[in-house]
């Protein structure tokens, strides 16, 4: 496939792995412990497992799977709110596919659907808007979820709904932002990370400038990375190169997609429709200041939180669940007390087991074969 196969070339991968090995071995700290690099984005985690990258990397490198899976970090209370909306008699509740399985305190959307709620999977918020126009006597709610990658699409859908005079369409906004989250991870006292792979598609929207604090203030290399396996390997190489040369900079490996200043049209739509929340609750990470957005008062007519009453109850993560420590890279998924026993993809306790992008589900399903076997 054009522009796909080129980035999956096994021969190039081999020589790149060799370069990475040489570079890693020449970095002094690697003699004491592995160099820890966090890939922030769930899309990267997915690719790493899909192509078996962990098993190909030298033992001097440890990949830490970060919090960038929006489905995984959604707290139970918000899922309960979704279900409360979905179970209202006149509502058609629309959602992206992989949000269907996330467990709430009592059930998931998939179970709510089986219980009779009208829950439908869509591929774009615009499909949900079209559904609203087709069903003027029903309330159509779209489950707005995701980082900056998906925020512009729901912002533009709200703008379109307003322009079209649609009155039966709302978004239940659970959008979150990446930068405060990276900052919260860097501020965590139990953390030891040597560098970051920055999220590719988020950066396509926000550009690379917002990450500069990572290098400037926290002195950690940050390389914005693409999602193909060669992209990821090259980005790891770039992080190592910075460490080796004693640099800490924000670099852009994914320049074919990510402009330095992001997508100004998308950012304008987001700023028009959304404003920052004071704080937002994350599963496993707790409350993080300014890490979520909400619909501005001017667009309240399209805000499900303004239109419907919902339980809005904060529900603590299960005690045995160690998603937070996994998210911060303090422990590996298989080191969690309930990994593979009480918590499996069939019966997920923590959200990291739910989505294929969640570090735990990815380990369970695809397995970082060599390292997993070595550790277990």
């Amino acid at each position: 496939m054009k522009y796909v196969d080129e980035f999956r070339d096994a021969v190039k991968a081999k020589s790149l792995i060799h370069e990475i090995e040489l570079l890693a071995k020449s970095i002094p700290i690697a003699r004491e412990r592995p160099i820890a690099i966090m890939e922030v984005c769930g899309g990267h985690t997915h690719s790493i497992f899909r192509y078996g990258l962990e098993g190909m990397l030298p033992k001097e490198i440890e990949l830490v799977h970060g919090p960038g899976c929006p489905v995984c970090v959604l707290p139970m209370g918000r899922v309960d709110d979704c279900i409360a909306i979905a179970e209202r008699p006149n509502v058609i509740f629309t959602t992206f596919g992989d949000a269907m399985r996330v467990p709430g305190s009592k059930k998931s959307l998939l179970q709510a659907k089986a219980d009779g709620a009208d829950v439908r999977m869509v591929y774009s918020p615009m499909d949900a808007l079209a559904l609203a126009k087709k069903n003027p006597d029903r309330e159509v709610v779209f489950f707005g979820i995701g980082f900056e990658t998906t925020i512009p699409s729901t912002a533009l859908t709200i703008l379109q709904a307003k322009a079209d005079g649609v009155t039966n369409f709302t978004i239940f906004c659970n959008h979150i932002t990446i930068v405060p989250t990276i900052k919260a991870i860097l501020d965590s006292p139990d953390l030891q990370l040597d560098g970051f792979l920055g999220p590719g598609h988020v950066s396509m929207v926000i550009g690379t400038t917002p990450y500069e604090f990572v290098a400037d203030y926290y002195k950690r290399p940050m390389v914005v990375a693409g999602f193909e396996p060669l992209d990821i390997l090259q980005s790891i190489w770039m992080v190592l190169k910075q460490i080796k040369e004693g640099r800490a900079e924000t670099e852009n490996q994914y320049a074919r997609i990510v402009p330095k200043d992001g997508n100004t049209a998308a950012l304008a739509a987001v700023a028009e429709v959304y404003e920052l929340r004071e704080f937002f609750e994350w599963r496993g990470l707790g409350s993080i200041d300014h890490s979520g957005v909400k619909v501005r008062a001017a667009y309240a007519a399209f805000d499900a939180e303004a239109k419907f009453t919902m339980p809005n109850i904060k529900i603590a993560d299960p005690k045995s669940c160690q998603c937070g420590e996994v998210l911060k890279g303090v422990i590996k998924p298989w080191q969690c007390k309930v990994f593979g026993s009480a918590c499996t993809p069939e019966t997920p306790l923590g959200a990291l087991m739910v989505s294929s992008e969640g570090a735990c589900a990815a380990y369970y399903q695809y397995g970082g074969i060599k390292k997993y076997e070595a550790a277990s």
Partner: protein
């Protein structure tokens, strides 16, 4: 006075309305007309025509094909009913024929039970029955008994079909899921994932203009050729729901062996790959309706491949991997990139990813 004898052949009823109503399920003349018009006239064979409560099959005629009976059933609830490359009728015949054939049986007779939602157009039912008849003809099987039920609107989605089939297993054929041995070769008869992608594309809610056609086909001829060329074949399964990933896991668990496949050797159409890239799906888990996975001893693999390639439904046959002595029950794939990943059973339904 001479009494004119009644003709021994009964007349075939016809339906003169456009849509099925509850009356067509009432057990009276309307139901008989529906069965005659739609099914009996399409399936057209001497075993079905008398419309007894059962088909009567001569044992001696069965015994000449082999020494054991194979018996299987499957239900079909596809949406949409008609899709590129097939329809529910073709699917219902192929599914049961293939389930018999992968066990080394020669498929002979099928039943067809139809659950019909009131309001369905008669013309639609006729098309489905015609398609079943054509596919049965191609597969060399007869549809000899059946049943229809009509249910209220909303109680089913247009038409549900169930086909049950009997076949006779060739003598000395002893394929089973626990017979895979280290060194055996994993063969498939062509590109994978077409049916799953075609159905998702045909539902139309993806706004993707996909030219992908279902691979739906009766594979008894192909399997016959394969087993003649490679009589020591360990086991065969058709890779329907859950795709080849599921079948390989069943083999690995059943035989307590490890299986390694090679991504570069695994044939997937460019269009299907692109489809999966866009939606975040894995083609290894997409359904097929005309693809088998066969485990063949290495010594017979070349002959098996040549025999499959000589058959119209096996032109694209290739070896995609090998049985290994590694961790029992584990299926892995060497990725195009040179890494290795686990290919596990799917937990639930494959859901598209957010971004």
């Amino acid at each position: 006075m001479n009494i004119v004898p009644l003709p021994r052949r009964r007349t075939i009823g016809q339906v003169h309305v456009a849509k099925v109503t509850m009356a067509h399920g009432g057990g009276g003349k309307a139901m008989k007309d529906l069965i005659d018009d739609v099914f009996v006239s399409a399936f057209d064979n001497g075993l079905l025509a008398p419309l007894e409560d059962q088909a009567r099959i001569d044992l001696a005629s069965l015994a000449k094909h082999g020494d054991r009976l194979a018996f299987t059933t499957d239900s079909f609830v596809v949406d949409p009913l008609f899709f590129p490359g097939g329809d529910i009728g073709k699917l219902a015949v192929c599914g049961t024929v293939n389930d018999l054939a992968v066990g080394g049986a020669r498929p002979l007779y099928l039943s067809c039970a139809a659950i019909i939602e009131e309001g369905v157009e008669l013309s639609l039912l006729r098309r489905i029955a015609q398609s079943m008849a054509e596919t049965a003809r191609e597969a060399g099987v007869k549809i000899v008994t059946g049943d229809t039920k009509v249910v209220q609107k909303g109680a089913c989605d247009k038409v549900f079909l169930t086909t049950t089939g009997i076949g006779v297993i060739r003598p000395q054929c002893a394929m089973s899921v626990d017979r895979c041995c280290a060194g055996d070769i994993v063969l498939v008869n062509g590109v994978l994932g077409d049916h799953g992608a075609a159905i998702l594309g045909a539902r139309g809610d993806m706004a993707l203009d996909s030219p992908i056609e279902s691979d739906c086909a009766p594979l008894n001829g192909l399997i016959d050729a394969l087993l003649t060329a490679a009589p020591s074949t360990r086991t065969i399964r058709d890779a329907t729901r859950g795709g080849i990933a599921t079948v390989l896991n069943e083999f690995a668990h059943g035989s307590q062996v490890a299986i390694e496949i090679d991504e570069t050797a695994t044939p997937i159409r460019t269009e299907v790959k692109g489809f999966c890239e866009i939606l975040g799906l894995d083609p290894l888990y997409l359904a097929n309706e005309g693809k088998i996975v066969a485990i063949v001893p290495a010594a017979e693999a070349d002959r098996a491949l040549a025999a499959m390639r000589a058959h119209p439904y096996g032109h694209g046959a290739v070896a995609i991997g090998q049985i290994r002595s590694g961790l029992p029950g584990r299926v892995t794939m060497r990725t195009v990139f040179g890494g290795t990943r686990i290919v596990d059973m799917l937990v639930g339904e494959q859901l598209p990813r957010i971004c």
